[in-house]
């Protein structure tokens, strides 16, 4: 006789033996006793919690010849047939392998036949979530109103994949994860029955490692029995699972909290040398830290205190590390990184580290200790101003390297066509020359056009000449409008041509402040920007107002 795994030989045969699902077994037993068995059940829940087992027990109880208080007898021929898996009336369908519409059609055909030996025909459809959409839909009508002798039991781990139309036609039972205490009890029973010597601590370890799945637990027990010499001890289970003892976890947490990075790293390498699974170790660390955190929050903290924030930070890092280790090809590296970060919070570019730094900065700001330098290279001029225009590349003018100092705050009112502008912009600054000849010019204006002379004399616009464009800056908008007349401009252009030769263009502009009088050239943002870009040597200040004194 071949050996059968514990979870197969010890599959419960009665409701009574099913562990941790009393809310379900009681309901079913009562239904059986009162003859109120529904025609469709859906069993869902995580792996190893007893879905298939319950379905089989239910099938037996329905067909048992001598049922006792809702339990199958396990002696009659119907029960035995189910136990051996050759009952005609209990059909177990693997929906994952028979998932198509054809299989369901076949099922619908066969549903019509009455049971041969028992009272009911039970269809156990396992892994029902794997049926295709079409198969589910084909099943709907049969599932809603099957012939009187049919009971469907659908079992799945993933109820969310089952369509709602199926769900609403079934009585749904949710299987819970089995609690460690209940699991330990069952494990003890099984171990005793299978003549396996296990000590108590090992049982608890198994129950914890199984995470609510009894089949997992029995698998581990099986493995432990094969590994151990005679008695299965906690040490055996630790070596099978690759887990570590509590004190190692404790010292690791201490290393991390104290910032002893070196020690922590050495401990990890020691664990790796012992052949421990580092990811499992990380998971154990997270559970351990979680327990510490819960204890600390509830004020049950004992011994050395680690602040909640710190615990939380460690926990977060390690949870992340565990996630990453699942998929990484170098899990050791991931853990080592996490440990370095955990023990040196200031290094990790984490939100926590940033928060700390921000808090520090805020404190400094509040106390006013932060140096508030207004470095010219980063402060932008407060008001919009035309950026210094780079010399056009086509020009070969030797002066093109000198960046002209243009006044700020000029708002060109006149609609000048862009080409025209680009033609002249960047021209040589000849303001000095023009200013020098300005008094003569004014004399001519006084004789030629009196109103213009009065206007210019009253407002004293500051003047700038670039290339062959002369710009007049008026402080008052009204003055601009008075001066900005074609006849005046034509006259001025003609006069300029007369005095300085060549053709000229005159523009009248409204500027809030006289651009050159209030601002020292060294402080002019354009100047500083130019110096920053080209270096001090290349930028030459021309028509320094302190020398020429402006037009005013």
């Amino acid at each position: 006789m071949a050996y059968k795994a514990l979870y197969r030989t010890w599959r419960p045969q009665k409701f009574q033996d099913i562990v941790g699902q009393q809310h379900i077994t009681r309901t079913l037993q009562n239904a059986l006793l009162q003859g109120k068995v529904a025609h469709a059940y859906l069993f869902c829940g995580p792996r190893g919690t007893g879905k298939t087992t319950t379905a089989k027990v239910l099938a037996k109880a329905l067909n048992c010849l001598e049922p006792a208080s809702g339990e199958p007898c396990n002696h009659c021929q119907n029960c035995l047939a189910v136990n051996e898996g050759n009952s005609v009336d209990v059909v177990e369908i693997d929906a994952a392998s028979n998932r198509g519409i054809d299989e369901i059609r076949d099922l619908r055909e066969r549903v019509k036949f009455t049971p041969s030996t028992g009272r009911r025909k039970v269809y156990i459809i396992d892994e029902v979530h794997m049926l295709t959409d079409q198969a589910f839909n084909a099943l709907l009508k049969t599932l809603e109103e099957p012939p009187g002798h049919v009971v469907f039991v659908l079992a799945t781990t993933e109820a969310h994949k089952v369509p709602v139309t199926i769900l609403s036609r079934c009585q749904r039972f949710d299987f819970r994860r089995i609690k460690p205490a209940e699991m330990v009890e069952r494990l003890r029973e099984v171990a005793k029955g299978a003549a396996i010597e296990v000590n108590e601590e090992a049982l608890w370890l198994i129950a914890k490692a199984a995470e609510g799945g009894l089949r997992d637990a029995l698998s581990i027990l099986d493995q432990g029995a094969a590994f151990a010499v005679d008695t299965v001890t906690a040490g055996d289970i630790h070596s099978i699972l690759g887990t570590v003892q509590q004190d190692i976890l404790q010292s690791m947490v201490k290393f991390l909290a104290d910032g002893k990075t070196g020690e922590a790293l050495q401990l990890v390498s020691k664990l790796a040398d012992l052949g421990k699974d580092l990811r499992l170790f990380t998971r154990e660390m997270t559970t351990f830290l979680r327990d510490l955190l819960v204890d600390s929050i509830e004020g049950r903290g004992t011994g050395e205190q680690i602040s909640n924030d710190n615990l939380f930070y460690l926990l977060k890092l390690l949870v992340q590390a565990e996630q990453d280790m699942k998929w990484s090809s170098q899990p050791g590296l991931v853990l080592e990184l996490a440990l370095v970060k955990a023990s040196r919070p200031e290094l990790g570019g984490s939100l926590e580290a940033l928060t700390q730094r921000v808090a520090e900065l805020e404190r400094q700001l509040a106390s006013g200790t932060l140096p508030r330098s207004r470095a010219p290279e980063i402060t932008m001029p407060a008001e919009p101003n035309p950026t210094p225009t780079p010399p056009s590349p086509s020009r070969t003018d030797p002066t093109e390297e000198k960046v002209p100092v243009t006044p700020v705050n000029k708002t060109i009112k006149e609609g000048i066509s862009p080409e025209k502008t680009s033609l002249h912009v960047g021209g040589e600054d000849v303001s000095g020359v023009v200013r020098q000849g300005w008094p003569d010019l004014m004399g001519d204006i006084k004789n030629g056009k009196k109103p213009l002379w009065i206007l210019l004399n009253e407002t004293k616009p500051s003047l700038e000449a670039q290339g062959n464009i002369v710009t007049l800056f008026f402080e008052d908008d009204f003055d601009v409008r008075r001066a900005d007349k074609p006849e005046y401009k034509k006259y001025l252009e003609w006069l300029l041509g007369k005095h300085f030769s060549g053709s000229w263009e005159v523009r009248c502009v409204h500027a809030k402040k006289p651009p050159l009088s209030t601002l020292k050239p060294e402080e002019d943002p354009v100047y500083t920007e130019a110096v920053r870009i080209f270096g001090k040597d290349l930028v030459i200040l021309e028509n320094d107002p302190s020398e020429t004194g402006g037009v005013k």
């Binding site: 792996r47 698998s219 040398d273 699974d277 370095v340 990790g348 570019g349």
Partner: protein, 329 residues
């Protein structure tokens, strides 16, 4: 065909299997999980050999009987090896398997199935395998192996006896290298830490497959901090010629920077992996701040993952190198 007694390392697993064989308590499904190259396949073959042997000695295969010789030649009729076809293990394969399991074994008492890379099973295949895996007929034994157990359905996991293979210890890798690659002890000792506990990788290194790449990678590590943007871009172009090599190169760099970081905190030379380049390592160790190392490692790790996930190799490398450059070049 290896025998169970000849397996290097994995003491717990070997012990469990041997006991199970001797006590006639072999489970019907085993899941071997662990990183690649540590010996999952070797143990699987050894177990299969022992299970099929006609006159086992203390549970282990005898090595002389007809079955053992057939195993040696790879033509035992009852040993089935199922692996991914193309990129995945498909439902058709599982259906075929389910059909086969129904029949009596050809020669011995049982079918033995070795299923490789079960993580590549499609959803459908995995689910349809569940019932067979839980209660196979006769004395069939399934030996599943994977290096990504977390990609498996929990329902598959819980049906198997899970054997977690761990990276081999250094001296075990040394032993393996000496036995299979005929290396002398000193060379083996220098190589072993680089293998990261994987004998397969160690053997690859021993054959010289990965050496030039490593030299290249280490050269990169030296230049990394001095180069300008242009050189970084050129380097990215150079490395990006082959996606696999680029990823491998980043892996080598990761280990290198890991060593620098570890050394910074522990100053313990035995923890380092690049044992053969200690001098160079110690020389570089002074040049990096731990914060910088951490940042570089994170970026490199991420870049490697991206490359493996089919990102544009060259662009990823360029971004990586420029970023490292901006950190402190």
């Amino acid at each position: 065909m290896p025998r169970i007694n000849e397996v290097i390392g994995h003491r717990e697993i070997v012990q469990t299997l041997k006991n199970a064989l001797q006590r006639n308590k072999v489970a019907h499904a085993y899941l071997f999980m662990g990183p690649s190259g540590v010996g999952k396949q070797v143990v699987a073959r050894a177990l299969a050999g022992a299970l099929l042997c006609e006159s086992p000695i203390e549970g282990d295969a005898c090595g002389h009987c007809r079955s053992c010789r057939q195993n040696e030649g790879g033509n035992h009729p009852d040993l089935h090896i199922v692996g991914p076809v193309g990129t995945s293990l498909k439902i058709e394969q599982i259906r075929e398997l389910q059909k086969q399991v129904q029949y009596k074994p050809y020669q011995g008492q049982r079918h033995v199935y070795i299923m490789e890379k079960v993580d590549t099973m499609t959803q459908e295949a995995a689910n349809s395998f569940l019932k067979t895996l839980e209660e196979p007929s006769g004395q069939t034994v399934f030996i599943l192996s994977t290096d990504q157990p977390y990609a498996l359905l929990p329902t598959i996991l819980s049906r198997c006896q899970q054997c977690q293979f761990r990276p081999l210890r250094n001296q075990e890798v040394v032993e393996g290298l000496m036995r299979y690659c005929q290396l002398d002890k000193d060379t083996a000792k220098k190589l072993a830490p680089l293998s990261g506990g994987s004998l397969g990788r160690g053997m690859l290194l021993a054959e010289g497959g990965a050496w030039p790449l490593r030299e290249q990678a280490l050269k990169v590590s030296q230049r990394l901090m001095q180069m300008d943007e242009l050189e970084a871009l050129r380097l990215a172009e150079e490395l990006s010629e082959d996606r696999g090599q680029a990823a491998e190169c980043l892996a080598i760099l990761l280990l290198w920077f890991r060593d620098l970081l570890i050394y910074h905190y522990t100053e313990d030379r035995h923890l380092l992996m690049n044992q053969d380049k200690l001098e160079m390592l110690l020389d570089q160790a002074q040049r990096y701040r731990p914060g910088l190392l951490l940042a570089i490692i994170e970026e490199t790790k991420q870049a490697r993952e991206r490359i493996l996930a089919n990102a544009n190799t060259r662009m990823t490398l360029e971004a990586l190198l420029l970023k490292i450059h901006s950190y402190g070049g």
